[in-house]
């Protein structure tokens, strides 16, 4: 789903959002946001005051207050609608991929029938040939095909999908480029992976996350406190012989209650999911995004995440009395039929030693011995030679004698460096060693260092032996590793970390990863993975790039920081608003309190109006911040805290003094009061 990144106020989104902002004024839908509900009630009350002549204060002043209060509510609604709109736009793009297709369904009685894709049900079996669109999510039960998944992933290179193993899942809407496959449908219409993704990004089924609920409770409590403050102030005013007008009291209330965070809270949450979608990651719930920020342990598969897929041959080490050419030639012969990436890399390396490329076809009399778990060797019998390459122990058993000392030394050197040695032998004669090496992805060490600074531990999981694992772990800079890991070890490790109170994130693609994905707090399934893996995780990476786990964690943290920053800012803002409104309320009855007006606002009415205007404008000014998220730096918590407090705490304390003063000057220059 090649998600195009949009400018923040794309008109295609902003205009409908504006309309939605009005629709959202419905009090029933406002109720879920207590802070904005109180603001709306306040706006309604001042509106009513407009029609009341006695004791409501000057009409024009009340009118302006009323308008700005409604603006405040509308701006908050607009922020939410913008966030939802951006999600909807992405959903629409996803939906485009769901073109009407026809499916060749296998009849129980045999033969196929043409049906519309919408009629397919779970467990139906369809046949898809080259050039056709796969009609529904499913598992390949037969055949192998190249599939163009660019509609979903935006990746133009076709991928191979085959029955059995971990690459058997296909997604509805993708196109088969070659060959022919039989697919068992795994989702009913409307329940497919794509459908769920669409619903999610549209925000239709959005539920508040746990932290969002807690924050809403706190904001509601603050709202109640300020209601008590303002209502009691009316009584204290009566005692003091001042009758505070209702628009003034409502203005004070709305300025005090945390409208900034209250208005932007849901937008922040939606935007968090949205940012993930832009990275081609689909979170199944907002809860998962929040959990990503809390993760303490990252469980990273070595292969694909830390290293570039497969091991590569990097070096030939001939035994004493064997030339490099001879070893390379034998290694190449032994690898010709070896279709594994390691095997191919040996052939490629051998070419660099001036050997011409040979192909199996040239050697009709050769008998190729393929790798089995029992022999743990592969090779070729040709011209009376029996060439084998394989693990040291296996080849030693094959050659029937101890390796010469130079080979033994080389073996242990390679082992310690984390490489994998393949010994090449011709019958009982040991020719030398092929050095296979994992290539660690660039930039990871730096990244892991930053995670460490944030208190996140990285654990590498690999099936390699301890020594190899240790060397790669050191090279990649992970904190810990698990060597010789079996799939169930992953699950056990997650359980162990969780028992110690840690939150674990991992990536996985295979069916045997499913239990671990389900157990982990943040389980990112690769889109290339099996359906079982995708069902078990709570996020799917459409690009199938395991390294993206790191970005997911950053986005989760960014969302939480944005929430905290705006809450702090919202509360810190209140101080300046007090200094604008309270002196204005006192000045008529107690002229002696003039020194309290430290901002030198020009009149009581302009002071109150300016505070209300500031309160509305700060909300709209912060919409971009809410949607984009605050800048995130991977540094220790203490540093991050200090920086954000300076910015949002102190900034939130000081900025409104300037803002209200400027608005006051404008209000008076324009003779608004």
């Amino acid at each position: 789903m090649a998600v195009k990144s949009r400018s923040l106020f794309d008109m295609e989104i902003a205009l409908p959002a504006l309309a939605d902002a009005f629709k959202k004024l419905n009090p029933a839908s406002m109720l879920k946001n207590p802070v904005m509900f109180v603001t709306e009630a306040g706006a309604a009350i001042t509106t009513a005051c407009l029609f009341k002549t006695a004791g409501a204060g000057p009409f024009l002043f009340t009118l302006q207050i009323t308008l700005w209060l409604w603006f405040t509510v509308l701006f908050a609604n607009f922020a939410e609608a913008m966030a939802e709109g951006r999600g909807k736009a992405q959903a629409d793009e996803l939906r485009k991929t769901r073109t009407k297709t026809m499916a060749n369904r296998l009849r129980a009685a045999g033969g196929t029938e043409q049906v519309s894709a919408e009629l397919l049900r779970k467990n139906d079996v369809v046949v898809v040939s080259a050039g056709e669109v796969i009609p529904a999510d499913g598992e390949i039960t037969e055949g192998v095909a190249t599939v163009d998944e660019s509609a979903i992933t935006g990746e133009s290179a076709p991928v191979i999908r085959e029955a059995g193993g971990d690459r058997s899942a296909v997604t509805g809407g993708t196109r088969v480029l070659s060959d022919r496959i039989t697919v068992t449908v795994t989702a009913n219409p409307g329940e497919s992976f794509l459908d769920r993704m669409i619903r999610l990004v549209e925000g239709a089924k959005r539920q508040k996350t746990p932290n969002e609920i807690a924050l809403t409770i706190l904001l509601s409590a603050l709202t109640i406190i300020f209601l008590a403050t303002v209502m009691s102030l009316k009584c204290f005013g009566l005692y003091s012989g001042i009758s505070f007008s209702i628009p003034v009291l409502v203005s004070l209330l709305v300025c005090l209650i945390p409208t900034t965070i209250g208005g932007l809270l849901s937008a922040i949450g939606i935007a968090g999911i949205d940012r993930l979608v832009q990275k081609n990651v689909l979170a199944m719930s907002g809860r998962a995004v929040e959990a990503a920020g809390d993760v303490n342990v990252l469980l990273l598969d070595k292969t694909g995440t830390i290293t570039l897929g497969d091991r590569q041959a990097t070096e030939f080490i001939p035994a004493e009395g064997v030339t490099l050419q001879e070893l390379a030639s034998a290694a190449q012969l032994a690898s010709l039929a070896d279709e594994t990436p390691e095997g191919r890399s040996i052939v490629v390396l051998a070419k660099q030693y001036g050997l011409r490329g040979r192909s199996i076809a040239e050697l009709p009399h050769a008998r190729f011995v393929s790798f089995t778990a029992q022999t743990r060797m592969s090779g070729v019998d040709i011209d009376g030679r029996r060439i084998r390459k394989g693990a040291a122990a296996a080849v030693q058993a094959f050659a029937g004698s101890l390796f010469p000392p130079d080979i033994r030394m080389a073996l242990s050197r390679i082992g310690q460096s984390g490489g994998t040695p393949l010994v090449v032998a011709d019958s009982d004669r040991v020719l030398g060693i092929v050095h296979l090496k994992d290539i660690v992805k660039g930039g990871l060490k730096d990244r892991f260092d930053r995670f460490r600074a944030m208190g996140i531990k990285t654990v590498m999981i690999t099936g390699d032996n301890r020594m190899t694992a240790a060397a790669i772990a050191a090279e990649a800079g992970v904190d810990d590793f698990v060597a010789e890991a079996k799939p169930e070890d992953k699950l056990a490790l997650i359980r162990r970390e969780q028992a110690a109170g840690r939150l674990v994130a991992m990536t996985g693609d295979g069916t045997n990863d499913a239990p671990a994905l389900a157990q982990s707090d943040v389980g990112v399934a690769m889109n290339t993975g099996t359906q079982a893996a995708k069902e078990a995780g709570n996020m799917v990476d459409l690009d199938s790039n395991p390294t993206k786990l790191l970005e997911i964690v950053e986005i989760g943290k960014q969302m939480l920081i944005t929430r905290g920053a705006l809450t702090t800012l919202s509360i810190a803002n209140d101080v300046a608003k007090y200094f604008a409104i309270i002196p204005a309320m006192l000045i008529a009855a107690f002229p002696a309190t003039a020194p309290l007006n430290i901002m030198g606002l020009q009149s009581a009415e302009s002071a109150i109006l300016s505070a209300v205007i500031f309160n509305a404008l700060i909300l709209i000014a912060l919409i971009p911040l809410a949607l984009r998220g605050v800048q995130f730096q991977p540094v220790p918590a203490a540093v991050l805290l200090r920086r954000n407090i300076l910015l949002y705490g102190l900034g939130g304390l000081a900025a409104p003094f300037a803002g209200i003063k400027i608005i006051d000057i404008l209000v008076n220059a324009l003779h608004l009061v």
């Binding site: 924050l215 204290f236 208190g455 939480l560 006192l586 309290l596 918590a637």
Partner: protein
């Protein structure tokens, strides 16, 4: 600001600091049912006897609900007991002055007042209550309510420090141990010291004194009584209910500069020690000291304003020829003067003590504002015995929740994730104080019954009412004075405010203890919100001040703040 005052302040803070650790260590032993103290050989038999009497074992633990029920049941029964004693004092012994029964509303108010550790004194001690009422009816609560406060704080700290448990200690064990190992021995020693300074301790009838100048005054009746025993626990337990109406301004209650100094220190001793206890229990002593430092910063800030304002005095009086260098001596005991009065006022309102050695009503507006603000912030600056710590812990949880998000994790405190339920409970504790104070004061401000009692019109009258309900709901008990609060209406509303401010706060706090105790701990990492160090201290102080100031500023603006400007700049006299 005389150098002697500075030295006294440094000595005061220095001694408080020095005693925090030893007391904290002792508290840790006392509040652990199996803890070992040096007092064990002397006290253990009594402890075991009391357990048998109540019918518990020291190893029994209670869930937060049972803990709450035990505490509330104990408080209710002891409150009814005191009510009965006051109503029946004419039938009871030790009544040499032959006082009659206490009026129902006054008895309710007094019983509520002492049960809640408020010690608001609507009654005049020496003119209303018999020795028996004072000793059995009131001093009982001085011990029990202080111990209950400490118990709640300990229960909350246990909830925070324990994990994956259902229990938070045993109320009866906490009650017994706190009294036997801490309050009673400490009070005994302190009472002896006070007697050495001249505090009286007797059961004599009142003495009649003939003034030398018989033209000027008639014969005076000089009250007597068992003062020292009550004064000691009044300070140590942050109770504040004096034997005499004049409280610590009375020469019998507070005879010497040394007694004054040590009484102030005694008020803050246990609250200060509890911060060390917090650090020790959480195995994060830096956190304990961070909380202590935050408290000290707010204490010194409040003291500075009060001291400065009282030293500056009243410009209006200066205009009439009063020596400006004297400062504001109205309503102050000349033996103590400006600094000791300002310090005492700050100490007594920082803690929920409420003992006074000067009339807060007569302070300058800004000077009187500070004690009022101290109470309204929830008395978390050291605070009451136990109540200060648990109030502060609510603010700590809120601080961690508000600012904790800014480190990019969902907030956690001491490895416990702060979730919706915890926030709900903290918000309840906060709301009850705010709504009680503002609600009752607003009612009083517009009700004839409320305004009839004030003796000063204008902003000062509002301050008087606001102070009364703040003091009651905050369980402080100090009076701003100037309010004739011994009416049925005030006795009843203030009594209710005290009960709301105490028990409606304790229940959510114990529930919070239960909620936190049941959680699984999360390990501390470099990504964890730091709860020690300067950033945390600034945040904590900021949260307390901003939440407190935002809530009460409008009310204060119409009271002391307006009054301050009227005094300094306005030509009008109210």
């Amino acid at each position: 600001m005389h150098p002697v005052n500075i030295i006294e302040l440094l000595l005061f803070v220095g001694l408080l600091l020095a005693m925090t650790k030893p007391l904290g260590l002792h508290l840790a032993a006392v509040l652990d049912a199996q803890g070992k103290t040096v007092l064990d050989p002397f006290v253990q038999p009594a402890e075991k006897f009391l357990y048998r009497l109540i019918g518990i074992r020291s190893t029994d633990e209670q869930s937060w609900k049972r803990y709450t029920v035990s505490l509330c049941a104990f408080s209710l029964v002891s409150m009814l007991f005191t009510y009965a004693v006051l109503r029946l004092q004419h039938l009871l012994p030790l009544n040499p002055q032959g006082f009659g029964p206490v009026r129902p509303d006054l008895a309710f108010n007094t019983a509520a007042s002492f049960t809640t550790n408020t010690n608001w004194q609507s009654y005049g001690g020496e003119s209303t209550l018999s020795y028996f009422s004072q000793m059995a009816g009131l001093t009982l609560h001085n011990f029990a309510s202080a111990a209950a406060g400490i118990a709640v704080a300990a229960a909350l700290v246990r909830g925070i420090s324990r994990h994956s448990v259902k229990t938070i200690g045993n109320f009866w064990v906490d009650l017994v141990r706190t009294n036997l190992y801490l309050l009673i021995p400490a009070s005994f020693i302190f009472a002896l010291f006070l007697m050495s300074q001249g505090v009286i301790q007797n059961f004599h009838p009142y003495v009649t004194a003939q003034p030398l100048d018989q033209q000027a005054a008639a014969a005076q009746s000089i009250a007597q009584g068992p003062l020292a025993s009550q004064i000691a626990i009044k300070m140590l337990g942050t109770n504040g209910g004096g034997f005499m109406n004049a409280n610590a301004a009375h020469p019998y209650e507070n005879p010497t500069p040394l007694s004054n100094f040590l009484q102030m220190l005694a008020i803050l001793l246990i609250p200060s020690g509890l911060t060390y206890y917090l650090g020790r229990m959480l195995k994060n002593q830096r956190h304990g000291w961070a909380v202590w430092t935050a408290m000290l910063i707010m204490f010194l800030a409040s003291l500075s304003v009060c001291w400065w304002s009282e030293s500056a005095g009243n410009p209006r009086l200066h205009a009439l020829g009063v020596d400006a260098a004297e400062g504001n001596m109205e309503g102050k005991e000349v033996r103590f003067g400006i600094f000791d009065s300002a310090l005492f006022a700050t100490v007594t309102t920082s803690a929920s003590c409420g003992a006074v050695n000067a009339m807060h009503d007569s302070f300058t507006p800004a000077g009187g504002l500070m004690p009022l603000v101290n109470i309204q912030l929830g008395e978390v600056v050291f605070g009451g015995a136990g109540a200060g710590l648990y109030g502060m812990l609510v603010f700590i949880v809120l601080t961690v929740f508000l600012a904790g998000l800014m480190v990019g994790r969902t907030p956690e405190y001491a490895g416990k994730k702060i979730e919706a339920r915890d926030i709900k409970l903290c918000a309840l504790a906060l709301l009850i104080l705010v709504c009680t104070i503002l609600g009752f004061t607003a009612w009083a401000a517009v009700a004839p019954r409320g305004t009839a009692a004030i003796t000063n019109r204008g902003p000062h009258g509002l301050t008087e009412m606001l102070y009364a309900f703040s003091s009651a709901a905050g369980n402080n008990g100090s009076a701003f004075a100037g309010l004739g609060a011994t009416t049925v209406w005030y006795n009843t509303t203030l009594g209710i405010a005290m009960l709301l401010g105490r028990f409606f706060m304790i229940v959510p706090i114990l529930a919070l203890a239960g909620s936190l105790g049941a959680k699984k701990p999360m390990p501390q990492t470099a990504g964890t919100f730091p709860v020690a160090g300067p950033t945390f201290i600034v945040l904590l102080v900021g949260t307390v001040l901003i939440v407190g100031a935002l809530t009460f500023l409008p009310a204060l603006a119409l009271g002391p703040i307006v009054e301050h400007f009227l005094m300094t700049t306005a030509p009008v006299v109210y």
